[in-house]
C-alpha cells in the first residue's frame, strides 16, 4: 500500500511537470520560462551522470564539463556536417562520449581520491585548450550551428523531449543503483580495499561506472546542443565541471532526487537574480557556504535525515501510547 502511494506521488509529479508548458506556452515570457526549465533539466541529466560516478561510486570526476562539451559537439557535428538524423545522432554522440570516457578512465582510474579529481581536471583543461585552438573542430568564433527539424522548433516540444530523457535518466540510475551491480559501486565508495578482498574487481567496476556516467553526460551534451541550436568551444570549460559538482553536492549526492533538486533549484536561482548584476555571484557564493555548512548532505540529504528523525519520533510516541 505504502509502495503504491509512493508511485502515485511520482506519477502525479510527472503529470504536473508535464502540464507546466501548457500553461506557460500562452505568453512570450512563459516561453522563456519553458526554456529555462528545459536547460535546467538538461543540466540535471548531467548532474545525475556525475552522481553515478561521484555520489554512488565515490570517484570525484572533474572532467564532466569536457565530456558534456564532447557530447554536444559530437551531436552538432553529426547533425550539421555529416547530416544524420538527430535521434541516431544523439545515440552516437553519447556512445562516442562513453568511449572517450573509457579511454580517459583507463589511465586515470588507476588513481584514487584527490589524485583522480586532479587527473580528470587536467584532462578537462587539455580538452578545453584543444577545442579553443582547433577552430576547424569547434568552429572558432562563429561556433557550430545545430539545425533542428521543424517539429522541434517550438520550445515546448523540446521541453517534452528533455523531460522524457530526464525521466529515463532517473530510471536508468535507479535501476543501476538498486541492482547488484549498484551494490558493487557503493562498495567501492565505502571501502575499496575491502571490496577487493571480497572479490570485486574495483578497477573494472569503476571503469564501468565512469563509462556509463560519460554516456549520460554525453546525452546531456547532445540535448544541450539541440536546445541551444549553437555551440562554441567554451562549453568544454572546466567551470562547468565545478558547477555540476556544486549542483550535485548542494542538491544531495547519492540520492536520486538530489541532483535534480539541486540543479533545477540553483539554475533557476541564478537566472532569477541575474538582474542584480555582478553581485549575484556574491549572493550565490554566500548561499553555497551557508548551505554546505548547515546541510552537509545537501538539501535532499538533509530533508531525508529530518524525515527519518521525525518518523522515529512519531513511532516512539506511538510505542509509548501502546
Amino acid at each position: 500500500m505504502k509502495k503504491y502511494g509512493k508511485w502515485a506521488f511520482y506519477l502525479l509529479l510527472i503529470v504536473i511537470v508535464a502540464l507546466i508548458p501548457l500553461y506557460l506556452n500562452r505568453s512570450k515570457s512563459g516561453k522563456y520560462t519553458i526554456q529555462v526549465l528545459t536547460m535546467a533539466m538538461i543540466w540535471a541529466i548531467a548532474t545525475l551522470s556525475l552522481n553515478l560516478i561521484l555520489g554512488y561510486t565515490g570517484q570525484a570526476s572533474l572532467a564532466h564539463g569536457a565530456f558534456l562539451g564532447i557530447g554536444a559537439y559530437a551531436f552538432g557535428i553529426f547533425v550539421e556536417r555529416v547530416g544524420i538524423n538527430i535521434w541516431p545522432a544523439l545515440i552516437l554522440a553519447s556512445l562516442i562520449t562513453a568511449f572517450l570516457g573509457m579511454l580517459v578512465g583507463l589511465p586515470s582510474l588507476r588513481t584514487k581520491g584527490p589524485y583522480f579529481a586532479i587527473v580528470t581536471l587536467c584532462f578537462n583543461v587539455i580538452v578545453f585548450k584543444v577545442f579553443e585552438n582547433w577552430t576547424w573542430l569547434s568552429g572558432g568564433l562563429r561556433g557550430q550551428k545545430v539545425t533542428m527539424p521543424s517539429y522541434l522548433e517550438a520550445r515546448w516540444a523540446r521541453y517534452y523531449v528533455v523531460l522524457g530523457f530526464l525521466i529515463l535518466a532517473i530510471l536508468i540510475e535507479r535501476q543501476i543503483v538498486k541492482s547488484l551491480l549498484g551494490s558493487s559501486f557503493i562498495a567501492i565508495r565505502s571501502n575499496e580495499n575491502l571490496s577487493e578482498a571480497v572479490g570485486i574487481n574495483s578497477f573494472r567496476t569503476k571503469l564501468l561506472s565512469f563509462t556509463v556516467s560519460c554516456f549520460m553526460v554525453g546525452l546531456a551534451g547532445g540535448l544541450f546542443a539541440m536546445e541551444k541550436g549553437s555551440l562554441d568551444y567554451t562549453i568544454t570549460n572546466y567551470m562547468y565541471s565545478f558547477y555540476l559538482l556544486i549542483y550535485l553536492l548542494i542538491g544531495g549526492a547519492a540520492t536520486l532526487a538530489g541532483p535534480v533538486v539541486g540543479t533545477v533549484g540553483l539554475y533557476f536561482l541564478l537566472d532569477k537574480i541575474k538582474g542584480i548584476g555582478e553581485w549575484r555571484y556574491f549572493i550565490f557564493g554566500l548561499i553555497l557556504i551557508v548551505v554546505i555548512i548547515y546541510f552537509p548532505r545537501g538539501i535532499v540529504g538533509g530533508a531525508k535525515q529530518f524525515w527519518e528523525w521525525a518518523k522515529k519520533k512519531y513511532y516512539r510516541t506511538g510505542e509509548v501510547l501502546e
Binding site: 522563456y32 572558432g140 568564433l141 522548433e153 549553437s230 562554441d232 555582478e278
Partner: protein
Amino acid sequence: GDGGGDGESVVVKIGLNAPLSGVAAGYGQDIQAGIEMAINEINDDGGIKIGDTTYTFELKSSDDGMVPEQALANANQFVLEEGINIIWDPTANTIGPQMGINTKAGEEFLIMAYTSVPLYAQGANPLMITMPPPFSIYLPEWIKLSMGSGWMKVGMLQTTGAYGELWGSTFEKAWTGAGGEVVAKAPADYYTTTDYTANLTTVLAANPDVLFIGGPSDPTALVIEQARGLGFKGGFIVIDQAKLDDIADITGMEALEGAIGVLPVENGADFWPAMTDFTKMYEDEYGERVTWETAICYTGFMILSKAMEAAQSVDDVEAIRAGFADGDVSVTSGDVYPVGFEGIDDETGALLMPGTSTMVVDGVFVPGEPIEWWKL
C-alpha cells in the same frame, strides 16, 4: 520624458548583452556608457517621433560574462520576457552564436554588433549591423609603416583564442605577402597569463625587428613593459583590441616608441570636430577618458535612431535594418557625431566608419589619414 507632442508616448527597450562582470567588465561598461549617453540625449530632446507617437528609449543590460551560452539565454530573455528586438553585443564570441538564432520567425532581433571581426565574412546575417571597421583594414598601412622603418622580421605574441588566432593568421598572410618574415611565434592567453617573459624570450631569441602583440589593453601594456625589460629596442604592431592611450598611461610614452596601432580616440578630433565636445561631455559625466567603444556606440545608436525614423517603425527589425541604407541617414558625418560615418554596406550590414592608424614617433602619436576602407 514625454515628447511634448499630441500623440501618445512609448518607451522602447534596447538590450545590451555584454560582459559586466569579470575580466572584461570595464569593456562592457564603456559600451554601456556610449549607448546611455545617446539615449539620454535623445530622451532629453523629447525622443523620436514617428507619426503621432513619441518614442523614448530605455537600456536593459544583461551580464553575459563573455560566455556564449549565457549570451544566448540573455538574448532569449530579452526577446521573450522584455519584448526587446534590438540587442547590442560587443564580443565576437558571443555574437557568433546569436547569429544562429536572431532570424527565427516571431523572435527576430537585430544584432548591433560591436566587433572588428568581420563575422559576416562567413555568411551575412540579414539582421545584423556591425559597427567598428573590420580589423583587416589597418594591415596595409601598418605593414607599410613597419617596413618603412626597415623592420622586416616580426615575432608574433598576440593573444590566443579564436579572435587572436584570426588576427594572427590574417596578419601573417599579409606580412609575408608583403615580403616580410615571421621569425618566431609564441602567442599567449592574455586573459590568464600574468607573466609573458617565457614567451618574450622565446620570440626575442629570433631577433625580430618588431613584435606583433595585443589583446586587452592592460596585459598588452605588460607585454610591452616586459619586452623593454628584456632589452627589446624595436617596434610593436598592436592589434585593435588594445588601446594605445591606455597602454601609454601604464608604460609611459618612452616604452611605446615605435608602436603601430589604432589612433587614440581623442586624436580623432583632428578629423571629426564633434569629437572634441563629446570627449569633454564624457569626461564630465564619467570622470575618465573616453574610449573608442563609447564614441562608436554613441554614434551607432544615433544612427540607429535615424534608421528607425526612416523606417517609420521601432519594432519592425527588417524595416529598421533597411532604414540604415536610407539616404536620410548617410548624410551624418563627423560634424554632428564624434565618429565619421558614410552609410552602410547593405550586403554585410557593416557601418561605413573609417579607421585610423598611428605610429609613435619621438614620443607622440603621429596619426595617419582615416582609412575609408569601403572605397578601396
